[in-house]
Symmetry: C4
Amino acid sequence: MTRSDGHQRDVNTAAGPIGWPEGFTAAACLTFDMDAEAAVLSTDISSVDRMSPMSHQSYGPLVGVPRILDMLERHGLKATFFVPGYTAHRYPATVRSVAEAGHEVAHHSYFHENTAGMDARTEADMLDLGIKALQEVAGVTPVGYRAPMWELNYHTPRLLEDRGFLYDSSLMDADHPYRLAVDERPQAGSIVQVPVSWGLDDWEQYAFLPGLIGSGVIESPAKALEMWTWELEAMHRLGACFVLTCHPFLSGRPSRAEALERLIERMKELPGLWITTVAEVARHTASLDLVPRTCPQPRIPEQAYWVPRRP
Amino acid sequence: MTRSDGHQRDVNTAAGPIGWPEGFTAAACLTFDMDAEAAVLSTDISSVDRMSPMSHQSYGPLVGVPRILDMLERHGLKATFFVPGYTAHRYPATVRSVAEAGHEVAHHSYFHENTAGMDARTEADMLDLGIKALQEVAGVTPVGYRAPMWELNYHTPRLLEDRGFLYDSSLMDADHPYRLAVDERPQAGSIVQVPVSWGLDDWEQYAFLPGLIGSGVIESPAKALEMWTWELEAMHRLGACFVLTCHPFLSGRPSRAEALERLIERMKELPGLWITTVAEVARHTASLDLVPRTCPQPRIPEQAYWVPRRP
Amino acid sequence: MTRSDGHQRDVNTAAGPIGWPEGFTAAACLTFDMDAEAAVLSTDISSVDRMSPMSHQSYGPLVGVPRILDMLERHGLKATFFVPGYTAHRYPATVRSVAEAGHEVAHHSYFHENTAGMDARTEADMLDLGIKALQEVAGVTPVGYRAPMWELNYHTPRLLEDRGFLYDSSLMDADHPYRLAVDERPQAGSIVQVPVSWGLDDWEQYAFLPGLIGSGVIESPAKALEMWTWELEAMHRLGACFVLTCHPFLSGRPSRAEALERLIERMKELPGLWITTVAEVARHTASLDLVPRTCPQPRIPEQAYWVPRRP
Amino acid sequence: MTRSDGHQRDVNTAAGPIGWPEGFTAAACLTFDMDAEAAVLSTDISSVDRMSPMSHQSYGPLVGVPRILDMLERHGLKATFFVPGYTAHRYPATVRSVAEAGHEVAHHSYFHENTAGMDARTEADMLDLGIKALQEVAGVTPVGYRAPMWELNYHTPRLLEDRGFLYDSSLMDADHPYRLAVDERPQAGSIVQVPVSWGLDDWEQYAFLPGLIGSGVIESPAKALEMWTWELEAMHRLGACFVLTCHPFLSGRPSRAEALERLIERMKELPGLWITTVAEVARHTASLDLVPRTCPQPRIPEQAYWVPRRP
């Protein structure tokens, strides 16, 4: 953390709209984070002895994923599944079925580790473990990455570029995909960023395990559908890239899957909407030869010498 | 907790749809957890001196249960009441009235103890105390069990089988009932599992006692009704077993009971829906001679050597 | 806290429906807790130096109460205002205007102290301070009491009877008012209880001051109106006593007051609904010569020897 | 904190309705708090190393503000942007574009510091730093102030008057703007107060960053729009001043901006509604030569000798 005089160069530039492939005016990606048990175990390792929370998480690969795969097939759509390596080791048949159905299998850490504050060496190990697991289990070398809890470190983009990743999908500063410089040096390499947002995540709508995850409020699928439809239609009008993040252990439940299907039906009605995988969006974005942009880390001003007191 | 190499056998299999009795294509169970004071006392024992929270809990057996019994009789339905032993000792007339009306009285611990991390010896004692209480008070030997807060331990299924229980209703990894092997040994015995889910529980919609229970948000019965109707209809279409969990101290309130009655009316309109007790569903499931499935405990991978840091 | 063998006498009896005055079949009371600053100061005394939270609380007596008085006058209704002594000392003109408009001024502690676990001596002092403040400021000797946060102690009913109170309105074990024995001795005196419920409180719908009060969620008046209307109509059908608890610093805000007015309009459409003060309901209940009932304190069973572990 | 006998002079008077400029009967101000990274950094300084939360905050100046500026231009409206000095230093082009479009740039601290309990000397330094930043970056000397989290100290009004500020917009005790005496001395100077309320803030509806901000619940724009429309229409009927507080990193998201636009469309339909900046409302209020009112600090009564025990 560097302290400066607080007068920073105006290096911040927004990621603007991009052109879409012939015939399309906007894009939409359905993404599924196959966290299964890892998301809970990495929150509280002692939950490994709690059979009910573990069964709640296994609903994802056992029931949610097959239901979602059927739904996607029914609609002729391809989606992106972000899979922790641990999920691949624990549910290899499920992960293989995702790959065999032609969907994208992408990287989502090894054990859904909290990456906030993780040093680069540990994060590199974790990335390599995750790649290895997906290669071993599904024969897939992932081109895309999403951090657990979307917690990217400033060193993560470089780690991804070093490993040949095409894209990351964890940042929240744009409605459109863009080329992200892996650091602030002039000749730094770049990857594609396909941004997300908390309002397009099913976790805050549905997740609850006492003492482990969730606010304690569980929303109706009708409310989630309303909210996501508003955002879908607004992003479609903007020519943006709508990226919905669902968790099969949550959105795989019967009526939530139906809400998702209604959203898909709405997607298909929208003219010029390219419904595709994140990798396809990233490949297209990469083909545009955009100028890489940086997300410069804030510098703490010297004047802010008082200790922030709000908890 | 056993550490392994992270490469686990693919022992996980989903519980698929089952056939239902002649004339039925799906099932629905109304269940009522008669927690009364125990659910709050086991959270904070000092609440025993707080007259208002205690009166809030006693609303369940004093007002909620009679109202629910009337409603069930009006609709000619039988339901399942999961009763802590302590509730039976404190409200014997209420518990007897449930049994006498022909509803199922099932086991819900003795004192709504937190079973997460409870050793098998203590849990066995608790189970025996609960059985004894239901036998003494209502003349009932329960065939079904539901853990407080749905917190089953991996040793619990065996404790249940040892005591002759037909079923448990605390796990969340399926939409359909199944035969659950009591452990992972090839010749282990089995019980029936009738799974539940957090989205079909009235606690997260309605529960609030400051500093004791609830998120602080209290939902409208209209919202709960909407959400549960969505799930009822979706599960009906899937041929699944809808299991709603209500608490008489919550859903026994006037307008919440009316919301429940509207849900019952919707249930009765759905063709082929078998509205019955959990015990009946479990007996039917047991009669199908299904292959028992396991819910294998996760093993922590050796690679996950970093300390999970997320709170 | 007394330990017993867990086998308690079946002393619990519900409070059943009562007859209402000629021409009425149910009752409804609008109650306003004039907490003002005390409710926040008693939560965190250091908030006395935070001008904005203090201004948020003073909205109640300065703006909310006059608006509510106008609305009540417009509809020709009398309501009950539960007033902490401190509020009377700080806003004497407002409190006098409530009394002068013919509304009931009742007791709501002196400083909105947390009474949970408060010893009888301190609670007696607090009651006397509150009585004195209302007498001095508004010339009123209150006949009704409501505990801050509805936290009655088991010794409180006797303290109230000793001071000649007609009723308390803090318990939650019934839909109908009843005669409450001040303790479990056979010849104990009694007061009237007019019960409340958390679902009929505007606090959980609207209250928010960061780090001081509220869950962080702020509901729409449309949602509160829907929820309260459901309960109003259900209680009307049951012949019960609907008691709504609002806080002028919350429900006095413009659109929330309009939601309340729509509820009042609905009340006036319901045939046979007696819209009156809590004191009137209590006087009527007292006139019925009901058998006093007890709310027996739970006894912790000896068998519950394990330490409850849920936080 | 001064203890008194609890008998305070009745110095509290409400701020009543004011006359509006010719042709207008009520007012509405759209305000945007450009917190960007500072609001999160001042909550947890270690978040400076978390790239995703930082990107979430930068969405505000990079994407949200341009979208909002376009929308305001489309409707021919001027709004007020409360800008921390740090945001001006980090996003000078954005802040200049706000000023160049003719909107009001007002003061919102330097680093979104928690001002609760801040001593007057530190707060004065912070105010001066913020003024300097807005002057340097946007060539603007702000006439208005809003405290971070609306946390005004009782000494803040005097600090503002000393620096020539026309108004503050952080208090919550009125529906109408008023003249606020900077302290309780008879001949104290005054500034204008344009009050706000928590129900008219997008933070409680939309904000979420795990472990940093928000309750964990994310509301639909449809719900926020419904709630704000209710309050807009109610305040319009009262001749009051509706002040909506939005954060570009929240309400700048596509469908939330559309909800805001629908609210603007409703505003424009309301007859006699003056849609303008807070500075214009303050200038008009100042021109009315109102009697300054005080917001007297509560004094803790000596009788409240018990330690408040509620957490």
